[in-house]
């Protein structure tokens, strides 16, 4: 399991030397690097033990997330795995483990330890045992349904409590099917047969979670793929009431932290594919278009096609595709154009880099072209030497270990979970087209004389207004995934965005940018609220913009709109914080360039800074963007 991670060599010695080293500052980094290896449950425990001995330096390590693990069974063995999966992404956790079987009392009693712990995330890990024990095999369809609904209502009440009284994000684990067949295949048609009850419980839980905005941790799905014997070990259940087998704990932690990371915008955004022996079999430079192995008629050819089909699916859900290959560009592109079996077309590839340069250099070029971080890339290459080189030179790029056999490429990439999502928005569905349109925009940029002509030629318009209920998922996703153009890097739950967009004294604007190549979707959000210190000042609490529309003057038009809104409310000035991070340096000079003045001349140059704009004396910026205003 966890086969996409490279094997650890000398894990024991490495860990000992890290613990013995005098340099405690570098310790966290070294432990994080070690976490990027395939570790079994015991190694995971040891790494977690070492992490516990690592001094928490507020400067070098991020603030921990408070997570409560609550459930019906023993969960203690999962905490180390969660912490190590966090370490893999440089996320720290403070974990509270609920008492055995006490999840109801702990959530419902406002003076319980959980309430004192104030978790930011509550994970509910339930099993099927309570539901099953209340259902004799002779129960009718109606009785089964009624009991399941009752159980779902109870779970929803717990979710509500966790969200409303604790203000926590709720993650609900699906229930493992640990039942044995009673009739055999006939179980499928007996309403109270355990496997049926569990399937329905999971299905109803997913529907309720979707309706309530609760996130799901689907270990039942994982167990279907990886085997229930791997996920549930009867001897451990009997010995210590462990519903989740210790051997599966690292996978459990990994799956949970993927969701937490996805919610924080840390999922990968782009799949970069090597070509020879990855996208097709053989070497196109040697074998020619007619010589490569691809498509029907060859098992290996179909396996390469399966990888293409999977990449295409990812692209349909908003993952950007890129190519990084050692080839002549013309030869490589010809295959996309001329090979009849190719599923991926040249227009599916947002960045196509084929040359003889070092691949780490080319990955940098790809990240730059797409305007995303290197830590958004996943690089799939059949060549172990290339993989090792990229891991060495660009450790922030995810590079899955691939099996020898191409038939297992797709499940390997899929199980690595690089692209974990917590939403699927209209913008995700259109992203592939938008990147294809970007390529056309770039062609236009190359063909016109000046930036002025380019912007004029784009025929841009902005569709803007308050955040609407329909767009809340996209708006939240944009706020939480955007790292570059993000003035304060504050993150919001959908509820918090709704609260701000409906509050009488605050404002939440969304901006959709259209041009002659298409609709870019909602690409910017600005949240304003009355300044804490001065009521006649509106503060820009958060402002984000998608990197896809940098350099299109949208920031100027958005500020024009914000100033008009401020004037309408009789507000004297706009204020804004710029809180620098390692990723938002691109907007270091945003506020002064928009006409803001520093509120304090002595602000240190590398720390957070506060900016003020007098709205009376503001001259609207001239832009090439016309307005489409929605009725309010």
């Amino acid at each position: 399991m966890m086969n996409w991670l490279p094997a650890a060599t000398d894990f024991r010695d490495q860990l000992k030397s890290i613990l013995a080293s005098a340099d405690s500052n570098g310790r966290f980094d070294k432990l994080a690097a070690l976490a990027h290896h395939r570790l079994n449950v015991i190694e995971t425990l040891q790494l977690d033990g070492a992490l516990g001995k690592c001094p928490r330096d507020a400067e070098a390590t991020p603030a921990p997330i408070r997570l409560a693990l609550l459930g019906a069974n023993t969960l203690d063995h999962l905490a180390p795995a969660v912490r190590v999966a966090g370490l893999r992404r440089r996320i720290l956790f403070d974990i509270h483990i609920g008492s055995y079987g006490q999840y109801r009392q702990e959530l419902l009693n406002p003076s319980s330890q959980v309430h004192r712990f104030r978790p930011q995330i509550v994970l509910l890990s339930l099993s099927s045992r309570e539901t099953l024990s209340a259902l004799p095999l002779s129960s009718t369809e109606g009785e089964v349904q009624a009991l399941i609904e009752q159980r779902i209502d109870e779970i929803r009440h717990l979710w509500r409590t966790a969200r409303e009284t604790l203000g926590a994000v709720v993650i609900q684990q699906t229930v493992l099917d640990v039942a044995d067949p009673v009739f055999g295949s006939y179980d499928c048609v007996v309403p109270a047969a355990p496997c049926r009850v569990i399937a329905r419980l999971n299905e109803r839980m997913a529907q309720a979670a979707s309706a309530d905005g609760v996130l799901l941790l689907d270990i039942a799905g994982a167990a279907t793929r990886q085997g229930i014997q791997f996920w549930h070990d009867r001897s451990r259940w009997l010995q210590g009431k462990l519903e989740i087998a210790p051997l599966a704990a690292p996978m459990y932690g990994e799956m949970l932290v993927r969701i937490v990371a996805a919610q924080r915008g840390m999922s990968r955004k782009c799949l970069v594919l090597d070509l020879d022996n990855t996208v097709w079999g053989g070497v196109i430079g040697d074998d020619g278009i007619e010589g490569i192995v691809l498509g029907e008629g060859s098992a290996a050819g179909e396996a390469h096609l399966a990888l293409q089909r999977y990449a295409k699916q990812l692209s349909e859900r908003g993952i950007i595709l890129a190519v990084c290959s050692k080839n002549e560009a013309a030869v490589a592109e010809a295959a996309f154009r001329d090979h009849p079996e190719m599923i991926l077309k040249r227009s599916d590839i947002a960045a196509f880099v084929a040359n003889w340069n070092d691949k780490s250099e080319n990955l940098r070029v790809i990240a730059e072209q797409l305007n995303i971080g290197l830590d958004s890339l996943v690089f799939v290459d059949d060549n172990p030497v290339e993989r090792a080189r990229i891991r060495e030179s660009l450790p922030m790029v995810a590079v899955p270990e691939l099996p020898e056999d191409v038939s297992d490429y797709v499940p390997r990439v899929a199980e690595a979970g690089y692209f974990e999502a917590v939403a699927f928005t209209a913008e995700d569905r259109q992203r592939a087209q938008q990147y294809a349109a970007n390529t056309e925009r770039d062609l236009l940029r190359g063909s016109v004389q000046s930036i002025e002509d380019f912007l004029k030629g784009l025929d841009m318009s902005v569709d803007y207004g308050p955040v609407t209920p329909v767009s809340i998922d996209r708006v939240t996703q944009l706020i939480n995934k955007t790292n570059q153009f993000n003035t304060t890097t504050r993150r919001y739950s959908p509820e918090e965005v709704v609260a701000r967009s409906t509050s009488s004294d605050g404002l939440a604007f969304q901006f959709r940018l259209l041009d002659k190549f298409g609709d870019n979707g909602i690409v910017s959000v600005m949240i304003l609220r009355p300044d804490d210190n001065e009521r006649d000042v509106l503060e820009i609490e958060s402002w984000v913009m998608s990197c896809r529309v940098f350099g299109r003057e949208l920031e100027h038009e958005a500020m024009n709109i914000a100033v008009e809104a401020a004037r309408d409310r009789g507000v004297r000035a706009l204020s804004a914080d710029y809180i620098p991070t390692t990723k938002n340096g691109v907007i270091r000079d945003l506020f002064p360039s928009l006409g803001f003045a520093p509120s304090d001349k002595d602000t240190p140059s590398n720390g957070p800074s506060r900016w003020i704009l007098d709205v009376k004396n503001y001259d609207a910026h001239k832009t090439h963007i016309s307005r489409i205003e929605k009725p309010q």
């Binding site: 449950v41 040891q46 033990g49 001897s235």
Partner: protein
């Protein structure tokens, strides 16, 4: 594989697990003789041992091991 070799391996496993290199196991060591060797770490220890030797103990064995010597003997029996 001799009983002594198994005992050395068990010692190494428990030291790594409890991060305590001062632990010395003998055939007559009982779980309560080693501080921090609680029920949580007992299951972890059994899991580590099963992974190390590619064996699986019966639940009836695990709950009746009197001392380290009994674990060593059962490990040897399962390996042969």
């Amino acid at each position: 594989m001799t009983e002594d070799e198994i005992l050395q391996t068990l010692t190494r496993i428990l030291r790594d697990l409890l991060m305590d290199d001062s632990i010395v196991l003998a055939m007559d060591t009982r779980r309560e003789d080693v501080p921090a060797w609680d029920s949580f770490n007992y299951i972890n220890f059994i899991v580590a041992l099963e992974m190390e030797y590619g064996i699986k103990f019966k639940v009836s064995d695990v709950e009746s091991f009197e001392n380290v010597g009994a674990i060593v003997k059962q490990t040897k029996a399962l390996r042969s």
